[in-house]
């Protein structure tokens, strides 16, 4: 690729290396989560066991806990990013609904 210059390669190489290191570091921190914590406007509105199946209905969002996994079942936000995030199960993982200021966290 003749368009690439030396600093491009250094920059891209550094960033790839950095993300690889972070992946490994975070990957070792991440383990199977125990608790589901749901916060709205930075206040905890729900906290429960990940192993216990159930559904949490908030004003704008519905969170479902099933088979040790959590996902956003429905939301009334425009972008639906939270719903598209899919299932999470490891500690530190999150589902964020920015418009409704809802965050689902696994601890």
């Amino acid at each position: 690729m003749k368009k690439l210059k030396r600093f491009d390669i250094i920059l891209i190489g550094f960033l790839l290396f950095a993300s690889l290191v972070l992946f490994t570091v975070f990957g070792t921190i991440k383990r199977k989560g125990k608790r589901v914590v749901i916060k709205q406007n930075d206040t905890v509105v729900y906290s429960g066991e990940l192993s216990k199946d159930g559904e949490v209905s908030l004003k704008h969002n519905t969170v479902k806990i099933e088979n040790g996994e959590v996902f956003m079942k429905s939301a009334d936000c425009k972008n639906q990013i939270c719903v598209k995030t899919g299932k999470i199960s490891k500690s530190g993982e999150t589902i964020i609904c920015l418009p409704n200021k809802v965050i689902v966290e696994i601890e």
Partner: protein, 171 residues
């Protein structure tokens, strides 16, 4: 034609071009909004509209790059977003445009590197803002967002170079 008339003619011409570019950006943004790239991680986006600002930067039109980027962010937020999403896209958009505007002057860096740096900055700023609101848990997304920034930034950089070569006329 007097110089005054041609001046206003030029202003109308560049205003029209900038408006068209903004409209193009917003359409691109809407198409991306329909593609569920956010399933990879929240905030993952190709950012085709950034190629417009990049072309303007390559052509040395720093003011134009800022004008188009800020206008498209405000209009997109108005059309598809919320005041809250505006905070994210505005901060990230302005900071990454500043970074690109500075780096484009570096002779050893091609527009690809500039675009990659801009994309990674954009994503990092978004995580930083998110961490203020949602807590430090969101930093888990950093490696994914760096990687997506490198991939998308490279693609947009290439697109910017190709577009600059194709568009011969000055704005």
């Amino acid at each position: 034609m007097s110089s005054k008339q041609s001046d206003s003619g030029n202003r109308i011409k560049s205003l029209t071009v900038y408006s068209l570019l903004c409209a193009f950006c917003i359409v691109c943004g809407y198409i991306e909004f329909l593609i569920p790239t956010a399933a990879i991680a929240p905030g993952v986006k190709l950012g085709i509209s950034n190629s417009v600002a990049l072309v303007l930067l390559i052509k040395g039109d720093i003011k134009g790059a800022f004008a188009v980027n800020i206008t498209r962010i405000l209009l997109s937020a108005l059309l598809f977003g919320s005041p809250f999403s505006l905070l994210f896209s505005f901060c990230a958009g302005v900071i990454s445009t500043v970074v690109c505007a500075v780096l484009i002057k570096m002779p050893k860096l091609s527009p690809i590197g500039v675009s990659v740096a801009g994309a990674v900055c954009h994503n990092t700023v978004q995580i930083a803002i998110a961490s203020f609101i949602f807590g430090k848990g969101v930093w888990f997304y950093l490696p994914v967002l760096i990687l997506s920034g490198v991939i998308c930034g490279t693609a947009i950089g290439l697109l910017g170079i190709v577009l600059t070569e194709k568009i011969k006329s000055d704005f």
